[in-house]
């Protein structure tokens, strides 16, 4: 019987000992993999300077709002070739998320929504491995002067084929940015 108590006492000591360790080691920070900090849409005309639309959010889902910038106005009656770049700038050097989207092109799609710019046309989207639209590159054609917004939405696991509207594309939203755009 005494033995049992001896072992019980040892167990107590063991627990005490394991509780008493010094906590010098602090946890390492998480290397966030799902973050996109930056969406950059570069619209390049055949001649002249490119227009850059940028959404930058330095703290992911933290309290800071994304900062939206548009480098200038679009010209009327112009064809722009557009390219979308997604970055995680919390990494150094910045991680290129566009590559990841292009690699799994069949599981992603960019959807373009125009508001107040009824004659602007976005077409000629690049395609995924199944020849379905992907939209990391596209053409944007302006006609008359005007102003409105253009929204870029990246959907994950979309229903393909679709008519290019958000309702039919479905899936989950990975990123969405709405820019005020002026055509003159």
């Amino acid at each position: 019987m005494k033995k049992v108590f001896f072992y019980a006492s040892m167990a107590l000591l063991f627990v005490t000992a394991s509780c008493d360790k010094d906590d010098d080691k602090t946890p390492e920070p998480v290397n966030e993999e799902e973050v996109i900090t930056t969406l950059t849409v570069t619209l390049t005309p055949a001649s002249g300077t490119a227009i850059v639309l940028k959404s930058f959010d330095d703290d992911g889902d933290g309290p800071n709002s994304p900062v939206l910038t548009v480098s200038g106005s679009l010209a009327a009656n112009t064809v722009y070739s557009g390219a979308i770049e997604l970055l995680n700038e919390l990494e150094s050097p910045a991680e290129d998320i566009t590559e990841e989207v292009n690699e799994e092109s069949d599981e992603h799609q960019f959807v373009f929504t125009l508001s107040g710019l009824s004659d602007v046309v976005i077409d000629n989207l690049n395609t995924d491995t199944n020849d379905m639209p992907l939209g990391t590159t596209f053409d944007l054609t302006t006609v008359a002067a005007g102003s409105g917004t253009v929204t870029f939405t990246l959907r994950h696991e979309p229903t393909k084929p679709n008519d290019g509207t958000l309702a039919e594309v479905g899936g989950d939203t990975d990123i969405e940015a709405t820019f005020d755009v002026v055509v003159q």
Binding site: L13, C19, P29, L39, H156
Partner: protein, 728 residues
């Protein structure tokens, strides 16, 4: 609550405590050498036990449980009046007692409090229903033996008592269900050897594919369980030792259509009459899903000491692993989004004494050490930070028979808790909440726009419970209990900070939260004549600093706009009653009725609390023909009303794309529903029982207020379950 610079005070407390434990043990070892006499008091103690158990109203026994062996633990608890469940689909089910859940409900299995990240509303108790033989919900002073912070209640489950006679016995339970196209198989083996040694083994396998509503398949809702538990030991009248090990492993899919990335996606999901994703039936479980592994190892020793009573010493270790998988941007990324490892060591000492034939007492000491590790390899910010937690507890409970018909009980418990956490805060949030000024002293360093902070907390809580039992002569019994309990804020309430993918919302904790203090008064009146038994149990729970989460605004991020929910505290009150009636109409026919009413409000604003169970009424008619193979036929009607008292947590969510607001309706409760269930069983012979249960007999479409999937999908349609129990 104070934030401490270091754990010096704690060590100061720990050391003497252990010295005390050890000297206590040494003293007793001397006594235990003496020959032990059979104590007359044992009889009285048994009587006490019976009465206390009767007061603890509830009880699901082995007989109830064996027909329900294919269900998750929480779903089984729902059969107790006053207990409802907070569900994530039909496969993740956590108990709600008198309107309270999560950290406010403790589950004790075989004497071990289950430590399993119970803070989360989508986390259920890690417990195999087939390892359980009896279930009680403790309301009296006895609960202080297990917990001082369970403002809702304490659920105690007991394994089957070990065989007293030498020999072998066992049982196999098999259930096959149409809905989910799966079933469960469980076996229990018991053996007592010649020399006081015994061994019990249980195992369970469950496997289900997608469940379905009357109209569509619930994609990705299958689950599987593999559980095993082993108890072995040696016991006789005077002493015993027991070794226990159990392993619970559950892999469960989460409705795919409920996994929504942004507030607007959630709006689409809520406003779609059918789930956004409906696929063909499959047994496959893909992300979003959860996997939980829970190990419990325990060693328990007891001895009967002359004059002093029964001394119990036990040590248990628990390891809980929780993995939650979300749909990642890259499908090649198979890593979990949440990967938590929770280690808990508990050592406790208990002395149960029968001081006289009228008084028995229980004293206990407990020390607990817990360590949570959140694996950074997930690539997703930790939802719960790394922390260590120490608890030191002492309790004393006494039962006194003042007269034959008047029993008195009193219990005290003191818990000291120390939490030492390491958490990375986003610098933007740290500053936005003014933590840089309030908690500058706990900052360790800044790493790439994150602040590593080292919050430390010390809580000292005293709880007590006092109760009385009166037999009012003849047919009336009355029980009254008053309890004061205190609960510290849990890690999610303190530390949450960021996007909770499962809920598509940003959740923010608060370092300045204080302990909740609950004062609950409960009355139980029982009436019993030959053919009629009725009980009525009203209660009132007045809670100071009640902690809850409410929406406080929305936040624009590059991913889209999210609702922001923050933890707050306010005084609240919950009240209600449970009512139960049993009537034997004739020799073969009986009727049972259960009604449960719960109300909960914030005190100052008088705003209703969220997730309060609506009125439920159950009526059951049972036909029992003993001479015809013990035939039992039960028709059950279950009515759940619409919850009309709910907080308005709706949101106007701004969508920049359309430059418009949409109403995110997170509040409106679903309509009332009425379901019929049928149960039937016969004993083929003394050892074999077969039965058929039909749930939702009329194949009604309905949604339940306490099911988080109600926003996106209907609840289960008709389900035929065939069960087969064989004893050997």
């Amino acid at each position: 609550m104070r934030l401490l610079k270091n754990g010096a005070i704690l060590k100061f407390i720990v050391a003497p405590f252990y010295l005390f434990c050890i000297s206590f043990l040494s003293c007793f070892s001397a006594f235990s050498q003496e020959k032990i006499e059979e104590l007359e008091e044992v009889v009285v103690y048994d009587k006490f036990n019976k009465i206390t158990k009767a007061l603890n109203k509830t009880i699901l026994t082995n007989r109830d449980l064996e027909d329900l062996s294919s269900l998750p633990f929480g779903e089984v608890l729902k059969h107790i009046n006053g207990v409802s469940t907070l569900n994530t689909g039909n496969t993740i089910s956590k108990p709600v007692i008198h309107g309270l859940h999560s950290s406010r409900v403790a589950v004790i299995n075989n004497g071990v409090r289950i430590e399993d990240q119970e803070w989360g509303v989508e986390h259920e108790p890690s417990l195999d229903i087939n390892s359980v033989d009896q279930i009680f919900v403790l309301t009296g002073a006895d609960k202080l033996e297990y917990s001082g912070n369970s403002l809702g209640g304490v659920v105690v489950t007991l394994p089957k008592a070990v065989r007293e006679s030498v020999g072998f016995s066992g049982k196999t339970l098999f259930t096959a269900s149409s809905n989910g196209r799966g079933g469960s198989l469980a076996s229990k083996f018991e053996n007592r050897f010649n020399n006081d040694w015994f061994a019990n083994l249980n195992w369970t396998i469950k496997k289900f594919g997608d469940f379905e509503t009357p109209d569509y398949n619930l994609s990705n809702t299958g689950y599987g369980e593999n559980n095993v538990s082993l108890r072995t030991g040696k016991n006789n009248v005077n002493s015993g030792i027991e070794f226990y090990y159990s392993f619970f492993n559950k892999n469960v899919g989460i409705l795919k259509a409920s996994h929504l990335h942004t507030g607007e996606d959630q709006y689409r999901g809520i406003n779609s009459p059918v789930p956004l994703i409906i696929s063909e039936f499959t047994y496959a479980i893909n992300a979003p899903k959860q996997e939980v592994q829970h190990h419990v190892a325990k060693i328990d020793f007891y001895t009967n000491l002359a004059k002093l009573g029964k001394l119990d010493i036990s040590y248990n270790y628990q390891l809980n692993r929780r993995f939650e998988y979300d749909i990642r941007r890259s499908s090649t990324n198979k890593k979990p989004s949440i990967d938590l490892k929770l280690d808990t060591h508990v050592i406790n000492l208990k002395l149960t004494s029968n001081i006289s034939s009228k008084l028995n007492t229980k004293f206990g000491l407990e020390s607990k050490f817990q360590e949570n590790f959140a694996n950074p390899e997930t690539g997703i910010r930790r939802i719960i930070p790394d922390y260590t937690k120490y608890d030191l507890t002492a309790y004393a409970i006494g039962n006194l028979a003042v007269k034959e018909n008047f029993l008195f009980e009193l219990g005290f418990r003191y818990d000291h808790t120390h939490i030492d956490a390491y958490k990375y805060y986003r610098k933007s949030l740290w500053e936005a909440r003014n933590y840089d000024e309030l908690y500058a002293d706990i900052t360790i360093r800044e790493v790439s726009s994150q602040i590593l902070a080292n919050p430390k907390f010390n809580f000292g809580n005293l709880s007590f419970s006092v109760g009385s039992y009166f037999s009012l002569g003849g047919h009336h019994d009355l029980y009254i209990n008053y309890a004061l309990l205190a609960r510290n804020p849990n890690p999610s309430e303190l530390f949450s900070e960021g996007l909770h993918h499962a809920a598509a919302r940003i959740e923010i904790g608060d370092l300045s939260l204080r302990s909740e203090i609950g004062r609950k008064i409960q009355l139980s009146y029982k009436y019993k004549i030959n053919k009629l038994q009725a009980s009525f149990s009203p209660y009132l729970n007045d809670i100071e600093n009640f902690i809850y989460i409410i929406p406080t605004g929305s936040r624009a991020t590059i991913r889209g706009t999210f609702p922001v929910w923050e933890y707050k505290q306010n005084d609240a009150v919950l009240y209600g009653f449970d009512y139960d009636l049993n009537l034997d109409i004739s020799e073969n026919l009986s009727f049972n009725q259960k009604i449960s009413v719960t109300k909960g409000f914030e005190k100052i604003s008088n705003k209703a609390l969220i997730d309060i169970p609506p009125l439920s009424i159950k009526n059951e008619v049972t036909l029992h023909v003993a001479k015809y193979k013990d035939l039992e036929l039960t028709l059950e009607s279950e009515y759940v009303s619409r919850q009309n008292q709910f907080p308005d947590n709706n949101f106007d969510l701004y969508i920049p794309r359309t430059d418009a607001f949409v109403l995110l309706d997170l509040s409106t409760p679903p309509s009332a529903y009425h379901l019929l269930h049928l149960k039937s069983s016969i004993n083929l012979n003394e050892k074999t029982k077969i039965g058929l249960r039909v749930n939702n007999l009329l194949n009604e479409s309905y949604r339940d207020y306490l099911n988080r999937m109600r926003y996106y999908a209907d609840d289960l349609g008709i389900n035929f379950s065939l069960f087969f129990n064989k004893r050997f």
